[in-house]
């Protein structure tokens, strides 16, 4: 019965699947230290040694018998799957295609017991179990994988590829089990060695590369954030270390490494506007939730899951990512922009030869590595940052800044940060407002770029891109509150259109109404615009030309008039039309005001298209350029 309810699947595909199954078994056995030895990429030998609870002598034959899992006793247990290796067929499947040897000793047993098989799990009888020497725990050795199925063996890749997949599998498991020590050796060489009882953050940095610590932002959400039963913790990369594929995204649900479209989408949405199209953020996300809320039994390798309420998962991930990014200073430095990882091997876990970032003040939580001196240094500067990384500027502040009427507090007002729960994060000192930034001189270069300085070095701003971003955010906030104010026209402005565009007017009119445009078809080739946003009139934007451009955009196949995307698209067009252009001369007052807005607006570091609005040349980089470093 139980066997019938578990979908049969190919469990053993390659050495990496052996590694995964056996390490999961070891974790389920309560191991605190797991050693993985690989020879010839695991094809010759995969040996997993743990210090877990071990297997009783009498249970050893059962452990390798097909579908004789000791973990599921009734079908109802399938609803509460909280262990990793619930699929009992794993050992049996491995046993049938390799020379398998299990040696195990329970803590109270006086000796270890061993069972050796030669590709035949049916031969696992109590008679073949023999005593052996060994410490408490279990050692499973899998030799000569696929020795009896030459056809399968042919499908294996090169030793190096198989080895890297095995190491990937260990990395995934080690990421999600920071309390367990892992040692992985390939042909005797240690490639992973992480101690037990690590924090998830420390574990992630040890595995992904400590040089990334300045490039990763910590995110979290729990019940205090209205996460509705979900706990999320993770690290997400700055835009500079985004990749061309999702290979650098690690997702764990209840400790299980999975891929999930909902989470991928939420993550990508969180980065909307700060990543160029076709770039994927680096991320490590760990979600803990009630086992009832997620169905893991939809994929033979358990690599995909199905959420009972994917909306909640999406919203928790999206908001946590957005919050962290909003609080961070995302201004790329010249080094970031020149980072070779932008075009590097999409399969590598680590980005290319990443240069350690000087300053170290760009990650929101202090890193518990990097030495006490450095952390203190970072803390010192954080206190003087214009906007503290854990604080988020409210929309009011943007308005305040837009109008240029500084309130009594001088400088933008702030609202308290969303409650944070991570232990490493210091409690925000109440009443500690960010110091107003000094009045640095601003230089307009070629009527297109603004140059000024901040605590870290030289700041270069693309005036159009920044103004566009600022206007976009202001418009978006305004539209979410109510429709844009619309000025009626004496006589409709007539726009020549295609019959398809004319026919699409009715479908578009709810969207148009939100942004203050009223248009109707006058015939198959003409559309009349009878109202247009006051704001665009003020900015001298031509109604006919703008509506024609809107209709052209709306004709694209990916444009869904009712969607959030469509609204953002059209607001983006508005912001672009209304913003200061490259080549526009700006007065000194306008320059400083625009830079003030930069401080105030979320994600001001990138324009709505994801291109950077601002680039920073750090003092360190300047010193390097002049050979003073």
């Amino acid at each position: 019965m139980v066997a019938a309810q578990i979908a049969a699947g190919e469990v053993v595909e390659r050495p990496a699947s052996v590694v995964k199954e056996l390490v999961e078994n070891a974790i389920d056995a309560g191991a605190t230290r797991i050693e993985i030895d690989l020879e010839q990429g695991g094809v010759e030998l995969v040996r997993i040694s743990d210090d877990g609870s071990g297997i009783l002598r009498d249970d050893l034959p059962l452990a390798v018998a097909p579908h004789a899992t000791s973990k599921i006793r009734a079908t109802s247990d399938l609803d509460h799957i909280a262990t990793l290796g619930f699929r009992g067929e794993a050992l049996a499947s491995i046993a049938s295609v390799s020379r398998l040897s299990i040696r195990s000793r329970t803590p109270d047993a006086g000796e270890a017991w061993q069972l050796d098989l030669e590709g035949d799990p049916e031969a696992a009888t109590p008679g073949r179990v023999r005593p052996a020497a060994g410490a408490p725990g279990t050692v499973v050795s899998v030799r000569n994988l696929f020795f009896n199925t030459p056809a399968r063996r042919k499908f294996l890749r090169t030793t190096a590829t198989e080895q890297s997949r095995c190491v990937d599998a260990v990395t995934q498991l080690a990421l999600s089990h920071p309390a367990v020590a892992f040692v992985c050796r390939c042909d005797g060489r240690v490639v992973i060695d992480v101690p037990r009882e690590q924090t998830p953050h420390r574990r992630a940095l040890d595995l992904l590369g400590p040089e990334l610590q300045d490039q990763l932002l910590e995110i979290s959400a729990d019940r205090y954030d209205d996460a509705r039963g979900l706990t999320l913790w993770g690290l997400v990369g700055l835009p500079a270390i985004a990749r061309a594929t999702r290979a650098a995204q690690h997702l764990f649900i209840n400790g299980r490494a999975v891929r999930d479209r909902t989470v991928q989408h939420a993550l990508q949405e969180g980065y909307r506007g700060i990543l160029e199209p076709g770039r994927f953020p680096t991320a490590l996300l760990m979600i803990e939730m009630s086992p009832e809320g997620v169905d893991v039994n939809v994929h033979p390798q358990k690599a995909e899951v199905r959420f009972r309420d994917s909306g909640v998962v999406h919203s928790v991930v999206y908001h946590a990512v957005k919050r962290a990014l909003a609080a961070a200073d995302l201004t790329p430095t010249l080094t970031d922009l020149g980072r070779p990882s932008r075009a590097s091997d999409p399969r590598a876990i680590l980005p290319g030869p990443a240069t350690p970032e000087p300053g170290g003040s760009r990650v929101s939580p202090p890193i518990d590595g990097g030495g006490p001196t450095r952390a203190a240094f970072v803390d010192y500067f954080r206190r003087f940052m214009p906007s503290g990384p854990t604080e988020r500027l409210s929309y009011d502040a943007i308005r305040e800044a837009v109008r240029g009427t500084g309130g009594p507090g001088e400088g933008p007002s702030i609202e308290p940060a969303t409650p944070v729960s991570t232990d490493e994060r210091p409690a925000r000192e109440p009443g500690l407002a960010p110091a107003p930034r000094p009045a640095d001189r601003v230089l307009q270069v070629h009527n297109s770029y603004l140059v000024t300085q901040d605590a870290e070095g030289v700041v270069i701003v693309d005036q159009h891109a920044l103004h566009e971003r600022v206007m976009f955010e202001a418009l978006l906030a305004r539209v979410l509150e109510r429709d844009l104010e619309s000025q009626r026209l004496l006589t409709p402005v007539v726009v020549d259109v295609t019959p398809a565009q004319s026919a699409s007017i009715d479908e578009l009119s709810p969207l148009f109404k939100r942004i203050g445009i009223e248009a109707s078809a006058l015939g198959p080739r003409q559309v009349g615009v009878s109202a247009f946003p006051s704001f665009l009139f003020e900015r001298g934007v031509d109604a006919g030309g703008f509506v024609r451009a809107l209709l052209d955009r709306a004709g694209a196949s990916d444009f869904a008039p009712g969607s959030e995307d469509a609204l953002r698209d059209v607001l983006d067009m508005m912001a672009c039309k209304a913003a200061v252009k490259a080549g526009d001369r700006m007065s000194e007052g306008e320059l400083t005001e625009l830079l003030r807005l930069r401080e105030a607006v979320e994600r001001s570091s990138n324009c709505p298209h994801g291109r950077p609005t601002t680039v920073r040349l750090t003092i360190r980089e300047l010193e390097r350029l002049f050979g003073r470093a």
């Binding site: 305004r478 429709d483 104010e485 009626r488 026209l489 004496l490 109202a531």
Partner: protein, 407 residues
């Protein structure tokens, strides 16, 4: 003194009043091209004539679109002649020589020598023949001298034209691709002259009756660039002064201060301009005729109320809400700018007995119109919140303003 100049090779020589010359140069400089590949268009053309002992110096400038010609009287013309001199240098020199009551201008070849008591400037110019030929007003009016004959010629007083222009030109569009509304419509039919301007969101119309002496009755309409009208206004000195207007297919000529018939040609100034091509929107249709709510306001009270309510508007929330309350006989004006604040201003409406009505307007559009109304009383006519508002003053001024949708 910088070395003397011999009389050989000299052409024009005039002595004129410095401040009168400066005023004239300042005026014509408005028509000098600012950016042009032809340096001759950055010049002022000077022509000195002597008729029965009375000397006259004419200054002409053009940017190819608009031309201005001014005549300076009481000039001592020693030798008649012509010169073409860069306008900015001429203006700077005449302006800087502020201790001198008079200046001597003497042309030698293509340079002009400007002499004061203790200074001598030599400014290189161009051959006067390089300057585009601009037909005289009389040639256009009569179709003489090779000029295209005007389709209509009529006369109005400077004061009346000033009123017509100031009550309409403010409502023209600025830099829109609908070129036809970048100017003011002149519509002349019989004895009526009507000027109309719109930017697509409001429309101003001002009418007047031409003087009885005018015999022309042909109907004609054309669109005149706003810039030309602004320049024309600057030429007006005396409201009683006659202004003759001649309209051809592509141009308008306005002569200020001249006589007619035998006295023709004695004008002080002539402005001519290319007309705006295109069709003016059919404005008669947008002037509402069925408005049933009519409120009489004291102009200053309404203006003050709108200006105060406008204090709490911003770029995205431009509108001021006008809420007419029939029962309490009050008008409440209110504005709300997100995150900035709100304003309410109340006005007593003892004469209002219509239904309650709410409508939003861009306050600038209202105050713009109130500024050009001289009458202390204005009339506001309305129908509904999504229908245009109508402001009237007397029988000759009508102003249509479209509402904004307030949420």
């Amino acid at each position: 003194m910088v070395g003397g100049v011999g009389s050989e090779g000299c052409w024009m020589k005039v002595i004129c009043d410095r401040s009168a010359l400066l005023d004239a140069i300042n005026l014509v400089s408005g028509a000098v091209a600012s950016r042009t590949p032809r340096p001759q268009l950055q010049c002022v053309k000077m022509t000195a004539t002597k008729d029965d002992g009375a000397g006259e110096l004419a200054l002409v400038a053009t940017d190819g679109e608009i031309s201005l010609s001014l005549k300076l009287g009481r000039v001592d013309v020693e030798r008649p002649g012509e010169a073409l001199i860069p306008a900015d240098k001429l203006r700077q020199i005449v302006s800087a020589e502020d201790d001198e009551p008079t200046l001597t201008l003497e042309v030698e070849d293509e340079a002009v020598h400007i002499r004061g008591k203790d200074a001598h400037f030599k400014v290189f110019g161009y051959p006067p023949s390089d300057f585009p030929a601009i037909p005289s007003f009389e040639d256009v009016a009569n179709g003489a001298g090779g000029a295209e004959k005007a389709k209509a010629v009529f006369t109005h007083s400077a004061g009346a034209l000033e009123t017509l222009i100031s009550r309409t030109a403010f409502a023209t569009a600025k830099e829109t691709s609908r070129y036809a509304i970048n100017g003011v419509l002149f519509k002349r039919d019989g004895k009526r002259l009507e000027l109309v301007a719109t930017d697509g969101r409001r429309l101003a119309l001002c009418r007047s009756v031409l003087p009885a002496s005018d015999k022309e009755t042909r109907a004609i309409s054309c669109i005149v660039p706003t810039k030309a009208l602004t320049m024309l206004q600057k030429l007006f000195a005396d409201p009683e002064e006659p202004v003759r207007i001649a309209i051809t297919d592509g141009q308008i000529y306005c002569s200020v201060g001249g006589g007619e018939g035998k006295k023709a040609g004695g004008e002080r100034a002539v402005m001519s301009s290319n007309l705006v091509e295109g069709t003016f929107p059919p404005y008669e249709d947008v002037i509402p005729k069925d408005h049933d709510k009519r409120v009489v306001f004291d102009r200053d009270v309404l203006s003050s109320a709108v200006r105060r309510a406008a204090l709490l508007t911003n770029e995205e929330s431009r509108g001021v809400r006008l809420s007419f309350q029939g029962k309490t006989k009050k008008l409440e004006l209110s504005s709300r700018a997100p995150e900035m604040g709100e304003a309410q201003v109340r006005v007593d409406l003892s004469k209002y007995d219509g239904d309650d009505l709410e409508i939003g307007f861009n306050p600038t559009f209202i105050t713009d119109a109130l500024k050009v109304i001289n009458d202390p009383e204005v009339i506001l006519e309305l129908k509904a919140g999504n229908k245009p508002g109508l402001i009237r003053s007397g029988t000759d001024f009508v102003y249509v303003v479209m509402p904004v949708n307030l949420q």
